[in-house]
């Protein structure tokens, strides 16, 4: 059965999206991306090293014709900075995609959703395809959709924490009733079961960086995440059984020896 993910006319082959931060080198990054099967990779925008021009470029390893490059505005704490990085990203890259982050606090890296909403509105008007990194608040998700977000990216837990999906009920409400745009869980996925849970809730995709990059064997974890996302999606589509407090026998009573 066909199960395509299309956002603003762009078709996504994989429901696992991966970040490219924290890897040993570009070689390892490329291996992880290939094993994960992801066609979306997030990147950050930073100063070119102008004193050592021998340094390599990430895009030499991840060809933009093969992968969808999704630049982020990580490290931005104000609307102005997020707009500045988004506009630079568009000029450095090949698309209008931006994973918009407006961070509100250094320790938790929780989003400043008021700034996020403002930046989403401005960038959407400028023709950007905005993927805002938000909290798990259904009302805010709706506001972001109304402001022109192409999808919403609620956090499962703080970035890099590996705490998993801390509020599956809110994520479900975001998916089921709050928004019509796709929902991509971003941040917090620590291991394969977390990714599967996100997909079982009905998320359209999951974005993982630290959960893979920080594993003892990142390449093996990329493989695990790929299978978890596929399994979770299949289970969601298959429709799980309702949870009940008491047992229901699987074997018939009829034909038992009395």
């Amino acid at each position: 059965m066909e199960d395509r993910l299309v956002i603003r006319g762009i078709e996504f082959r994989s429901r696992l999206w991966v970040g490219t931060g924290k890897y040993r080198d570009f070689e390892e990054t490329k291996k992880v991306v290939d094993v994960s099967g992801a066609d979306v990779v997030t990147v950050a925008v930073r100063r070119v090293n102008i004193t050592d021009r021998k340094s390599e470029n990430l895009l030499d390893y991840l060809d933009p014709r093969q992968y969808k490059i999704l630049p982020n505005t990580a490290g931005c704490y104000t609307v102005e900075d997020a707009l500045r990085y988004s506009r630079l990203a568009r000029e450095a890259g090949v698309s209008d995609l931006v994973k918009l982050e407006v961070i509100g606090d250094e320790r938790t890296l929780f989003p400043d959703t008021i700034g996020l909403l403002k930046a989403t509105e401005i960038l959407a008007k400028e023709g950007f395809i905005v993927f805002p990194y938000t909290n798990d608040d259904p009302i805010m998700a709706k506001r972001l959709e109304d402001a022109g977000a192409a999808a919403v990216m609620p956090l499962g837990a703080p970035i890099g924490s590996g705490l998993g999906i801390r509020n599956p009920y809110n994520i479900r409400i975001i998916i089921e009733t709050a928004v019509k745009v796709p929902v991509v869980v971003d941040a917090g996925v620590g291991t394969a079961s977390d990714a599967a849970i996100a997909m079982e809730l009905g998320c359209d995709a999951v974005l993982i960086n630290t959960g893979i990059a920080g594993a003892r064997d990142p390449i093996a974890m990329a493989d695990a995440m790929k299978h978890a996302v596929m399994a979770g999606r299949l289970a969601y589509r298959a429709g799980r059984i309702p949870k009940k407090l008491y047992a229901t026998a699987s074997s018939p009573i009829e034909g038992m020896l009395l």
């Binding site: 970040g19 490219t20 931060g21 924290k22 890897y23 570009f26 990054t29 997030t42 990147v43 950050a44 925008v45 930073r46 100063r47 070119v48 102008i50 021009r53 470029n57 990430l58 895009l59 490059i69 630049p71 982020n72 990580a74 500045r84 506009r87 630079l88 990203a89 568009r90 000029e91 450095a92 890259g93 970035i159 890099g160 941040a187 974005l207 960086n209 630290t210």
Partner: protein
């Protein structure tokens, strides 16, 4: 010409335009973005966008990130 490039003050002789600056810094123009005094310069304008003494230039590219 005295320019501030990526936060460092530099004396660069051949930097009449953004294109010339990138060439003198040996930066491939294809995979970077350039900002002059907080305004993003379009790639098509690198050859014609003139730089002036004291301009603040930022040259960025993509790095690993989440």
């Amino acid at each position: 010409m005295r320019l501030k490039v990526n936060g460092e003050i530099r004396e660069i002789r051949d930097a009449a335009t953004v294109g010339a600056l990138l060439e003198s810094l040996e930066v491939q123009p294809g995979r970077v973005a350039v900002e002059v005094n907080l305004t993003v310069v379009k790639k098509a304008e690198y050859g014609s966008f003139r730089l002036n003494d004291g301009d603040e230039v930022e040259i960025v590219n993509f790095v690993g990130g989440g």
